[in-house]
Each structure stands twice: as C-alpha cells, then as structure tokens.
Symmetry: C2
Subunit: 418 residues, 2 copies
C-alpha cells in the first residue's frame, strides 16, 4: 500500500472519539503540524516534513499550503439509492401545489416506491453511483444510505444489495440502514398492523439473514407511523441485533424522541418541531440530533429545527444532506452548510463537527473516522479555503482541492479555464 | 477562428429578443435540432449533423447526447470585485448578532469599504479572478459587476478598472456598473448632500471620462439613500449618458420602483417588500425585476420577493446571485436556483429565463445573448441534466459538462474518481 505525505498542513483537526456537544461544539481542536504521514490507509504521524519524509523517497507528496485540511465529510442521513425522478412534483410545488394535490397527481413518496420497484438492480446501481460520485467530489468519504422505497421485502432487499455493491465498487464507505417503515404502502393502508408485522416478521429477518443493514430506522410522524407501531418495529429490530435510528418530529411531535432514546437510538433525525422537554431528554442521552436543514430550504417550509437551543442544551448535533428524490435533492452535506448556517444559528465549527465527528459518532464509527488523529482512517479533504469559517462563509465557492480515502487520492478538482 | 459542431443536441432554446413575461415565462421555446454549428463566435446553423459537418473535416465536434443545452447563464447583479472577507461577521450572524451589533464590531458594508480601499489593484484582480473562474465553472458566460466598495473616487475607479482587466483576461463578458451610492461613507455621515454631490459631480464624470461603466446604480432604501438623493443621482447619471439600475425595496418600500421606472431603469433589484401598486407599475414597464433569493436564504430573513405575484402580473423577472462579501456569497446564479425555486414560487423554466433571456434583456444585450438563435453569440452550456426541470430539481447535482464562450470550449468538468 502506498504512503502519502501532506505537507504545509499548518492546521489540522485532532481529537479523541468523544462527540462535540455544548461549548466544545463551537471549538475546533487544532493540531499545528507541518506535515502528516498517511500509511497503510491510516493517519500514522504528524510532524516536520523533513522528518516524516526521511527515507521515503518514493512517497507521494501533496502540498496543502494555504489550504484547509479537514476530516472527510460523513453524511449520516441519505436516501441515495432510489428509482425515478420527482421533477414533475417539484415543478408543481413551485406553483404552490399542496401535499394533497401532489399525492392525488400520483406524486409523493409512493411515486418513488413505484419507480424503485420497477427499476432493475442495474438501473438503481447506475443512478446511485452517479449520486455518490458527486458526493465524493464534494468531500464526502462516508455516507449512510437508507432503503425505504421498496416497502416490500424484495425491493427493500434490492435497494440494500445495491448499496452494498456501491460500497464494494466506490472509494466511499457506506453504512446501510433498513427503513421498511418509511411509509405505509397503499395495498396495506387499511391493514396497517399487517404491514408492521411484515416489517417485523419478514423484512427484518430477511435483512439480517443477508447482513444487509447495520441500522433499522422508522419514520414516526403524522402521516407515517404511530408511536405504538414504531415501538413494535424498534423492539423487533433490537431483538434482531440491529442498531436504531428514528425519523422524528419533522411535522408533529408524537413522542418519538423519548421513545427513541429509551431504545438506545444512535440518532434521532429531523426534529423541526421538537419540544423543549425532548431537547432535555436528548441532551442527557448519547443519541445524536441529526438536523436536515436542506429539506427545510428545499421545501420552503421555513420551519428550521431549533438547533441553537439544542446546542446550548448540550445535545450532540449532526447535520446531513437528507439526499432523497422528494423533499431534498441536495447533492451532498457540503451543499447545505452555507445556506443553513444563519437559518439554524450554527457556527461554521458547529456545522463542520456536525458532518464529521458527530456524524461519525451517530454511525458508531467515532473510533475510526470523523477526526484526524493517529490510528484513525486516512479519510480527509484538502479545501480551497483558509479555515473552517472561510469554508462555510463562502457559499459553494471553496471546492475541494483533493479528497483522500484511506490514504489514496481519489479525486482532485483541477479547474482549468481555456 | 475555429468552428465547433454540437451534435445530438435534441432540444435547444431558440427565441427572438423579447423578454419572457406573463404566461410565456413558464414556457421554454424549444428548437428540435440534431446539431448546431458555431462559426466565428456565433450560432450559425441548426440542422442535421451530416449536413452541417459536410466539408468541415477539421471542425471540433462535441456530443451532447442525453444532455441539456442552454444559453450561457447571465448573472445580472453581482458585486464580484471587492477586498477582504467578512467571515467573522458571518460567524456573528450565526450566533444571532443583530445588524447593529455587527456594525458596532466594525462589520457590515463599511468593513468591505476599508478592505477594498486598502487592497492593491493586483489583490482585487486576483481575488476577483478566483470568483469569476468559479462562476464560469457553474455555466456563467456574462456577468454584471458593480463597484460600490470604494465610496471615494479613487477606489470606485480602481474597482471598475479591475473589472475591465478581468473582462480583458477571462473568457467572460462583464457589464460594469458604477454604484458610488451604495452606502454613505462614515466621513460624510453628517454631510450626506456633500457625498451625493461628490457622486454626481466628481465620480460620474471621472467614470464616464474613462468609459469605465455602462450603468449607474443607487441603493435606495432605509439606511442607504433617500428618494430625493436617488433622484439627484439618477438625473446626473442619465445626463452623463449612463444607463440606470436601482437597488430597491430590500428593507422598506420608499417609492424607489416608480422613480426608477420614471428614469427608464433597465432593472430594479431586490424587491423583497415591493407593494402591489409598484408591481403593476413594473409590469407595465420594460424595467426588469431582478430578484436575489440567495440573499434571503443566506441572511435567514425569510422575506422572499413576491415572485409569483410579479410573474402573474406580467413583470419581466430575472434572477441573479448578488455575489457580495456580506449578504450573499453565492458562487454563482446557478448556486441559488434550486434552493430558491419553491421559496420564490418560480418554475424551473421561469428561473432559467430569469438567468438567461431576461437577465440579458436587463443588460441591454437581448439581441446578442440570453437565447440561442442564428446570429447570436455562441455562448452556451451543456449540462449533465435531461431538461430544464431536471436541472433545477436536482440541487447542485447536475454540473456542466462543457461551457462554450463565443464558440470556444472554455471549461469541461470531467469527473474522474480513482
């Protein structure tokens, strides 16, 4: 395995595996280092360039002078594998169509379910690959990918198999999440209990049998699954050895947050309408509050999660893209950072921790990724920015200079105007 | 001059020079064409590839199969040449700092004025160049650039000279606008009339003497210039042979819209708080309503311009980036389209006309750019998108495949993941 030295690093993020919360969330733990050595896919040493380079004549060297080095971005909430497009529905939304009008025109999540069921595994692979490649070019080195556009056993398995193939083929780590409880499929709308039984008794066993998912997620909200249904599914998932994430409080606070915390959820996501008591509950737990500000912007709802309150209460806050075909098509978590900052009331440091260390913690990978320190994976980005504030301040302007995955340069953005 | 043929175009925007308004704004005028020939920097023919290629063995060919061809984007409101950074102020904003707190901490527009005065022409050139290169990579082929961070004759001239040098050196057309009346400089705060006199009697003559600007703009709003002051400046500008644009109704409706229309303004910009009577006035005029939705998102104010109402009333609506160091750092107009769509209530077709044909009309260049038809400049983009809806629907995902300026391929975005 080849080695790589990054020289003239200047500043670096170094820290242990504990997530950032409270006052620490607004501070970047800086390591001053002239250079960093990456060996065998891991960060192996910080130090003076000449010392690190000694005896390593063939080692590749990248000069990071004047640039910002960060951990590779971790996007801990995506629905990146799906069939079809909902551009038509998007156009209707721009003309003010209501949720009901879109639903009656055949739009909404069920249109993605139809398209995903109809798509071949190869088609899902190709469209998913295209999205993931864009994510890499925006500095992402690890993502979570959910199923949830099948709502039948066969298609849920198909989505997760595609995620596995993508992880095998691309230089990007994928954490797979099963979310059969993403919506109640139309054929079960008068037999919801039967669908929940299908999720618990057929889908979860089939998925664990093939080891296709690490997490089980449930969309617990108005129009999705009730608290009781959610609890049945979480229980079945935990019993089957899956870890837990929950979509909660996007539209209505049903009590999903305390339920998720009770079941040891790694992450509770959305939280646009979270109540103060539940913020306290989250703050006292290790469940990550994963915010999806791109969705609020893309839908034009104006209801941003109360990020400042959560941060001040001591919650572990992550930020993710929510890439999906309906409510947010954002190409990457990097895409949403600048437009979300003032709207969420999150500083650049808080946002960057939200898509690095805290996102890694929510995926149970805090010991491997999310910060740069000796022994962790050599997943990192070199940005055309001077520091974290500059990166988030300039909307879509600072692009990556290089993306490095396990010590390999997997992407370089070389702009050449003729 | 070399020729270029784009083959497998499929669909194309073709139209005359009249701007899109009312119902036409939501329709894309499609030309079905197998190929397009670009000669001598202009669009010279549409037709069958074999016919166009006959006898042109050495002509470069680009295959646009499965991709979208649009006119090059026209960004008709930018402040792309300035000194310094206001990242510190941005961080304060994310923590909820008020305008007054930022002002007292030395932030706001006057901090950009200090930095621009201090910057050498070379520094302004280099930082401006970096921004414009990013714009090109986002499909922009013509931009308007304002001065306004000098607020003294010397620095206003310096900014405009830098804009001219950038236009000379980069494959991007720049329309320069003088906006000495961007803010009242601190040294004149008790002598506003003297500053207006300076703008009218010293700056405007100096700028027209060197032919450094095509337009004169005034920021007419609460905290900026009054209606009376604005009228004095507009009158001086028109008398000096400059064309007119006006920043109006961003914070308060002072009557700037009817005044601007009376003076024959080409564009009235911002319009977040425009009143219904003024929408009617605009709709009956040829002044373009240039909306800057990125600013609303970046500032988190939530007050979007009533775009739907303006479109329905028959206004000519353009959309621009407002790239500037304080209220919106968006890298390009392309950056703001997807997040703005539902918030403005503008369809993809309306948005694309807003940053092509209508923006060109606002810059008095409708006969040369903004749509693709025979005889117009061969400024165009080939996008990794299937159609206009797909381009805007997928947030930051469809990138350009190639940007063509006056018949030359000036940028290709070739993504290669290793």
């Amino acid at each position: 395995m080849s080695d790589l030295i990054i020289k003239n690093v200047g500043q670096f993020f170094g820290k242990g595996s504990a997530p950032y919360r409270g006052e620490t969330a607004d501070k970047v733990d800086i390591v001053e280092a002239d250079a960093v050595l990456l060996e065998d896919g891991a960060v192996s040493a910080f130090g003076d360039f000449d010392d690190l380079a000694e005896g390593k004549r063939d080692t590749e060297v990248i000069d990071a002078s004047g640039r910002l080095v960060t951990p590779g971005f971790v996007d801990c909430h995506t629905h990146a594998v799906f069939g079809g497009s909902r551009a038509d529905e998007f156009v209707m939304r721009t003309r003010g169509a209501s949720y009901l009008e879109i639903f009656e025109a055949g739009g909404g999540i069920l249109s993605s379910v139809r398209a995903t069921r109809e798509a071949s595994e190869e088609e899902l692979y190709e469209s998913g690959r295209r999205r993931l490649v864009i994510m890499i070019t925006h500095g992402t080195t690890t993502i979570e990918v959910k199923s949830g556009y099948g709502l039948d056993t066969e298609t849920e398995l198909k989505q997760l198999r595609v995620a596995r193939r993508l992880a095998d083929d691309l230089p990007l780590d994928i954490v797979p999440t099963f979310i059969g409880a993403h919506a109640v499929p139309p054929d079960y709308k008068d037999e919801r209990d039967m669908y929940v039984s299908l999720v618990c008794e057929e889908m979860i066993p089939a998925i664990t049998e093939e080891d296709l998912a690490e997490y089980c997620d449930v969309f617990c909200d108005r129009g999705a699954f009730t608290i009781e249904e959610t609890e049945r599914i979480l229980k079945a998932a935990v019993d089957a050895g899956l870890k837990i994430r929950v979509h909660a409080d996007e539209f209505e606070s049903l009590g999903a947050v305390p339920l998720a915390v009770e079941y040891g959820a790694a992450s509770v996501d959305h939280l646009a309408v979270i109540i103060d008591d539940d913020i306290e509950t989250l703050a006292e737990s290790d469940a990550v509050a994963t915010l999806l500000p791109g969705t609020t912007i893309y839908l034009g709802s104006g209801h941003f999660a109360p990020a400042r309150k959560m941060l001040d209460a001591g919650c572990i806050v992550a930020v993710a893209s929510d890439l999906n075909p309906g409510s947010c098509t954002a190409a990457s978590v990097r895409t949403v950072l600048s437009p979300a900052a003032v709207n969420l009331g999150m500083t650049p440091a808080e946002l960057i921790h939200g898509c690095t260390a805290n996102a890694a913690f929510s995926l149970d990978q805090a010991d491997a990724i999310g910060t740069l320190e000796i022994g962790k994976k050599a997943d990192l980005c070199i940005w055309n920015a001077t520091d974290v504030n500059d990166l988030v301040y300039r909307w879509a302007d600072p692009r990556v200079y290089a993306v490095i995955k396990e010590g390999y340069v997997i992407y370089r953005d070389e702009i050449s105007i003729e």
